[in-house]
C-alpha cells in the first residue's frame, strides 16, 4: 500500500513537471507574448524592450524555462496584473484557496447526502413515478448551464425574496480568523453569529455547485444499485432469510457504493471548473472567482498558479480516492 502511494506521488510530480512545461509553452504562445500580456497592446517599444530584458526573454528558451521552473518551485509566479494588480500571484492563491475548499466541501456534501439515498431509492423503486421523475430531473440538472442556475437562485432567493445574502463570504461583521474557513472559524471561536452568517452565504453557491455532482452521483448510485440487486449474492442473502436491513446494508449498499467512491473523486475536478462560474456570479472570493477574473483580464501570472493548483488538487484527491477504494474493496486490498 505504501509503495502504491509513493509511486502515485512520484507520478504526480511527473504530471506537474510536464504541466509546468506546457504552461511555459502556453505563455510563449500567448497573443503578443508575455510582454504584451503584461503591458497590454498600447505599450511603447522602449518599455517593451525594457521588460523583455528584465524578464530575461532575450535568453535561450531552456535557460528561460530553467529560471521559470526555479521560481515556480519557490512559489514565485510573479505579480498579478489584473485580479489584484501588484499582489503576488501565489499569495492570491493562498488568500483564496480556503474559501473554495469550504464551498466545495459543502457542495460535495449536499451532492453525496442527496445523491446516494435518492439513487438508492430510485433503484429500489425502479420504473416507478419517483424513479422516472428523479432521473428526468437529474438529466435536466446536467443540461442547465451552471451560471444560469446561479443567476436563477440568486434572483429568487436573494434578490426577490431576500432570504439569503446576494454575494460574498460573510457580511461586514467583526469575526476572528483562525483557519480562514469561515464557518469553522466561527465554531472554533464560539462566534456563533459569524459562523451562521458565513453559512448563510454558502447556501446558494453550494447548492448551485452541487447540481452536477449530485446528478452524476445520483445516476451512478442508481445504476450501481440496480446492477447489484441483480447479483447472485443478493439472491443468496435472500435465501438465507436475512433481514432487509442486513441485505440492504451489508450486501447491496456495501457493493453498490464502490463505483460511487471513484465517481465522487472525479467530480471534485468538475467542482473546480464549476466554481469558476458559481463564484463569479455570487462574487464569492475563492480561486474560482479569481480564475474568472484572471481569464477576462488575461492575468497570466495568476492563471499559471491557479491552473497548476487545480491540477495538483485534482491529482491528490484522486490519489486519496484510490487509497480509500483499496481500503473498502478487499479484492484490491488483498491482492
Amino acid at each position: 500500500m505504501l509503495r502504491f502511494i509513493v509511486r502515485r506521488l512520484l507520478q504526480m510530480v511527473g504530471v506537474l513537471f510536464v504541466l509546468s512545461l506546457l504552461l511555459f509553452i502556453w505563455l510563449r504562445m500567448l497573443p503578443g507574448g508575455t510582454v504584451s500580456a503584461i503591458l497590454g497592446d498600447r505599450a511603447t517599444p522602449e518599455s517593451r524592450e525594457r521588460l523583455t530584458k528584465a524578464l530575461g526573454l532575450d535568453e535561450p528558451l531552456y535557460v528561460q524555462y530553467w529560471r521559470y521552473l526555479k521560481r515556480a518551485l519557490t512559489g514565485n509566479f510573479g505579480a498579478s496584473t489584473g485580479v489584484v494588480p501588484g499582489r503576488d500571484a501565489f499569495q492570491i492563491f493562498i488568500d483564496r484557496f480556503p474559501a473554495t475548499i469550504e464551498l466545495s466541501f459543502f457542495a460535495i456534501l449536499i451532492a453525496i447526502l442527496l445523491g446516494i439515498p435518492l439513487g438508492y431509492l430510485a433503484a429500489r423503486r425502479r420504473a416507478s413515478l419517483f424513479d422516472n421523475a428523479s432521473v428526468i430531473v437529474s438529466l435536466i440538472g446536467v443540461a442547465v448551464p451552471v451560471f444560469f442556475l446561479a443567476f436563477l437562485l440568486k434572483y429568487f432567493f436573494a434578490v426577490k425574496l431576500g432570504w439569503l445574502p446576494v454575494s460574498g463570504r460573510q457580511s461586514n461583521i467583526d469575526a476572528t480568523r483562525v483557519t480562514n474557513f469561515f464557518v469553522l472559524d466561527g465554531l472554533m471561536t464560539r462566534e456563533w453569529d459569524a459562523a451562521w452568517d458565513a453559512f448563510k452565504h454558502l447556501i446558494l453557491p453550494a447548492i448551485t455547485l452541487s447540481t452536477i455532482p449530485f446528478a452524476v452521483i445520483f445516476r451512478i448510485t442508481r445504476a450501481s444499485v440496480l446492477e447489484v440487486l441483480d447479483e447472485d449474492f443478493v439472491r443468496t442473502a435472500e435465501s438465507k432469510g436475512l433481514t432487509n436491513r442486513i441485505i440492504r446494508g451489508r450486501h447491496v449498499l456495501r457493493n453498490a457504493l464502490l463505483p460511487v467512491i471513484t465517481t465522487v473523486g472525479l467530480q471534485v475536478g468538475g467542482l473546480l471548473a464549476g466554481a469558476i462560474l458559481t463564484e463569479s456570479v455570487f462574487s464569492f472570493p475563492g480561486i474560482g472567482e479569481a480564475l474568472a477574473s484572471a481569464f477576462s483580464h488575461r492575468d497570466y501570472a495568476v492563471l499559471q498558479v491557479l491552473i497548476m493548483a487545480s491540477a495538483a488538487t485534482f491529482v491528490i484527491v484522486n490519489l486519496i480516492v484510490d487509497v480509500l477504494y483499496a481500503v473498502v474493496d478487499p479484492r484490491v486490498r488483498t491482492r
Binding site: 449474492f233 443468496t236 435465501s239 432469510g241 450486501h251 474493496d329
Partner: protein, 351 residues
C-alpha cells in the same frame, strides 16, 4: 454409484415437503402470459434425495425459486401448494417466509463465485445466518461457523473465516456456500445445479459431500440439474421435467434401466456411457425448446420426439401414476405403438 442400504426405507414414511400442482406464470407488460411451471407435483421425505432434471427452460429452477419464495415480487403469479410439515409455504407472508429461509429451507446455487458477496469475509457470511435464526452474537457464532467450514471439508478453517471469496478456489467456494446453507441445519436443502460451474474432479467431491451430509443429518435434498450423471450418483427418485411439466418420474434404478418417456430416453442417449458398445453413436435430441407446442392441445415434446403418433399433436397426454413411477406420454418407449411408429425426423425438419 454406491447403493445406500436404507434407500428403500426412505420411500415410505411421511413426506416432509409436498409440492402439489405448482404453477408459475410470467406476465410481462403487453406480452402473452407464459407458464414457466405448469402443474408440477412431487414429494420429498427426510433423508431422501429427489432430482428435478431437464434442459434449461424446462422450469426446474423456477420451481425451486417458487418454493423458496425467491421469485421477484412482480411480473409472476404462483399457484398451487408447497406443504412443508403442515404449512403451505406459498401462503406464508413474505416476513414469515423470510423466517423460514435459511432455517428450515436452505439453498445452494450454481455459480459459487457470483453467489458469494465479494466484500464480506466468508466467516461473516456464515455467521450472519446463525445470528439471524439462532439469535447468536457474532462472537458466539464464530466457533460454530468454524465447525461448519470444517464439516464441509475446508482445510484451515480459522484462516478461511477471515478470507474473502476471491481468495478461495472454486470448489472451496461451493463448500463455503454449502456451509452457509446448512449452518442452521435446515430440514430441506435445495441444490440448484451445484456442480455445473466446477471442474469435473471437484464436481465429484461436492456431490460426495452433499450425499454424506444428507445421509448423516437426514436432510431432504432437492437436486436440480440438467446432468443425468449427477442424478445417477445421488438421487433416490428422479423427476424429468419438460416444458414446465413433469413428464416422467421413477426410482433411480427403474428410470435408468428402462426410461419410458422418449425425452428421458433421448437424455440418456445423449450422454456417453462407459459400459456402452464401442462405436455406439451418441444420439442428440433434435431441435430445441423453441419448437415446443403448447400443452393445451398437444404434447409439448411432440415436434422433437422420435416416435410421435397423431394423437401427440392433438391431445394433451395425461399424467398416469403407477406406484413410485409416473408418466406423461401417449406413446411411451416400449409400448405397442412404439414399434409401429417410425422415427420421423423429416417431419420435424418441416416444422
Amino acid at each position: 454409484m454406491t447403493t445406500r442400504a436404507y434407500a428403500a426405507d426412505t420411500r415410505s414414511g411421511q413426506a416432509l415437503l409436498s409440492v402439489r400442482d405448482l404453477s408459475v406464470v410470467f406476465q410481462r407488460h403487453g406480452e402473452q402470459p407464459f407458464a414457466a411451471v405448469d402443474g408440477v407435483s412431487f414429494e420429498v421425505r427426510p433423508g431422501q434425495t429427489v432430482g428435478l432434471v431437464g434442459e434449461s427452460g424446462s422450469g426446474k429452477s423456477v420451481t425451486s425459486l417458487a418454493i423458496m419464495g425467491l421469485l421477484p415480487a412482480r411480473g409472476n403469479r404462483v399457484t398451487g401448494v408447497a406443504d412443508f410439515d403442515g404449512t403451505d409455504l406459498l401462503k406464508l407472508s413474505s416476513g414469515d417466509m423470510r423466517d423460514r429461509r435459511g432455517k428450515d429451507l436452505g439453498m445452494i446455487f450454481q455459480d459459487p463465485l457470483s453467489s458469494l458477496n465479494p466484500v464480506v469475509p466468508i466467516g461473516v457470511q456464515v455467521t450472519e445466518v446463525l445470528e439471524r435464526h439462532k439469535g447468536m452474537s457474532r462472537k458466539a457464532a464464530m466457533p460454530k461457523a468454524r465447525e461448519m467450514l470444517d464439516k464441509v471439508g475446508i482445510p484451515d478453517p480459522d484462516r478461511r473465516l477471515k478470507d474473502y471469496p476471491h481468495q478461495l478456489s472454486g470448489g472451496m467456494r461451493q463448500r463455503a456456500l454449502i456451509a452457509m446453507a446448512l449452518a442452521c441445519e435446515p430440514r430441506v436443502l435445495i441444490a440448484d445445479e451445484p456442480t455445473t460451474a466446477l471442474d469435473v474432479t471437484i464436481q465429484a467431491q461436492i456431490l460426495q459431500l452433499l450425499g454424506d451430509l444428507v445421509r448423516d443429518s437426514g436432510t431432504a435434498l432437492i437436486m436440480i440439474t440438467h446432468d443425468l450423471g449427477v442424478v445417477a450418483g445421488l438421487c433416490d427418485e428422479v423427476n424429468v421435467m419438460y416444458g414446465g411439466r413433469i413428464v416422467e418420474r421413477g426410482l433411480r434404478h427403474d428410470l435408468f434401466a428402462a426410461p419410458r418417456h422418449p425425452y428421458t430416453h433421448g437424455l440418456l442417449g445423449s450422454i456417453p456411457r462407459l459400459d456402452g458398445q464401442r462405436g455406439e453413436p451418441l444420439i442428440p435430441i433434435p431441435g430445441s425448446v423453441a419448437d415446443n407446442l403448447p400443452w393445451d392441445h398437444a404434447c409439448a415434446f411432440a415436434p422433437r420426439c422420435f416416435q410421435p403418433i397423431d394423437v401427440c399433436r392433438s391431445q394433451t397426454p395425461g399424467f398416469v401414476e403407477d406406484g413410485a413411477s409416473a408418466l406423461r406420454c401417449h406413446n411411451p418407449v416400449g409400448s405397442p405403438h412404439g414399434h409401429t411408429a417410425q422415427p420421423d425426423h423429416a417431419e420435424v425438419n418441416d416444422q
